[in-house]
């Protein structure tokens, strides 16, 4: 029971940090699930996060994976509800008010300001994730190749990411 309460608290808190996307919450996600609660190891977190990028739908469904690891299916349900309910209600109510905010002179400043702060948070998340994921030259090359490929072409990101995994396996067999 206590674990379900912890899951609810952690993911409700994390959900409020996802300004500009799930990656903005990654630094706190790592601190809370790895360092504070020891639910997963850092490599396990990276693996779930990356699998979550491959799964269809919203890219943070990996919160269900962590819930499952901690407390089975009830854990997954609590993690999902905690992660989506608080921001969901906020979006519902602000969405209804938004048209009334159209002429509010602070609306554009807030939107522009949160835009740059959220890019900063995504960058911080990418740096922290990179420290764990890029362990050697091979994995640095993989990240750079995927980056360039996705920047220059319109290929579905799922393909290069699956290919990255296959390169990892190939390198394990050879090495």
């Amino acid at each position: 029971m206590k674990q379900l309460g912890d899951i609810a608290g952690v993911f409700a808190y994390l959900s409020l940090l996802t300004v500009g996307g799930g990656m903005a919450a990654f630094p706190e996600l790592k601190t809370l699930t790895v360092d504070v609660h020891h639910w997963v190891t850092f490599p396990e977190l990276l693996h779930f996060y990356s699998l979550g990028q491959l799964a269809p739908g919203p890219n943070m469904m990996m919160v269900a994976s962590i819930g499952t690891v901690v407390a089975g299916l009830p854990g997954a349900a609590v993690a999902l509800i905690a992660f989506f309910l608080p921001t969901g209600l906020l979006t519902l109510f602000i969405g209804r008010m938004w048209t009334h905010l159209h002429t509010w002179r602070w609306r554009a400043p807030i939107q522009t300001a949160l835009g740059s702060v959220s890019v900063g948070l995504v960058l911080a998340g990418a740096i922290i994730m990179g420290r764990g994921a890029i362990v050697d030259a091979l994995h640095a090359v993989i990240a750079i190749v995927v980056f360039l490929l996705l920047l220059k072409t319109k290929v579905n990101p799922a393909y290069p990411i699956v290919a990255s995994g296959l390169v990892g396996v190939l390198a394990y067999w050879i090495g």
Partner: protein, 189 residues
């Protein structure tokens, strides 16, 4: 032109609402969920027009929460009220959530297998590349002046370099950035 049309949302059954979002939730492989949303909502079903879609997307991106679920809530609410928002979100999340729950059990079973570890480590490196691309694309859209880049660098350095907790960084950098972009008196230039 688009105003009278978009003011009256089309009538959509709950089952249809769930199904359309479920299909998008099941087929949007590889992360680019916004593209799938536009195809499903604007092009195929004409539930919202392009102007409304961009407006709702900008709300989704400003508020906390993921773009995909925020869009589900906003569109579901426009079509069928609060219950519509819930049904659309459930449809959007159910496929990915089921897969990730299954993945948790599968990884638990194969956690000692070095080949699956090598695979997962490979995709983690690939995912870093993906996230940097997403960041560059987001940045190209929202960063306008030198000051914005300073806010980005300061926020990232505080969190990733000095271990500042995200909420503090968010609040402090947010307030400074909002003040920087504050509405100015036109007379004073």
């Amino acid at each position: 032109m688009s105003d009278p049309a978009s003011a009256t949302p089309p009538s959509v059954s709950m089952a249809r609402l769930f199904w359309v979002f479920f299909v998008m939730g099941a087929t949007s492989l590889g992360g680019g969920v916004v593209g799938y949303l536009r195809t499903g909502l604007v092009v195929r079903n004409r539930w919202v027009d392009d102007v409304t879609f961009v407006e709702l997307l900008s709300i989704s991106q400003t508020l906390p929460g993921l773009n995909a679920t925020n869009m589900s809530i906003l569109v579901g609410d426009r079509l069928r009220g609060a219950w519509g928002a819930l049904v659309a979100t459930l449809g959007m999340c159910l496929p990915g959530a089921s897969l990730m729950i299954a993945a948790a059990y599968a990884v638990g079973i194969g956690s000692d297998d070095p080949v699956s570890k090598a695979f997962l480590h490979g995709i983690a490196a690939g995912a870093v590349g993906l996230i940097v691309v997403v960041m560059v694309q987001l940045g190209a859209k929202v960063l306008k002046g030198l000051a914005d880049y300073v806010f980005v660098a300061a926020t990232a350095a505080a969190v990733a370099g000095f271990g500042v907790q995200v909420p503090y960084a968010l609040i402090v950098a947010g307030i400074v950035a909002i003040w920087w972009h504050r509405p100015r008196d036109r007379i004073r230039k």
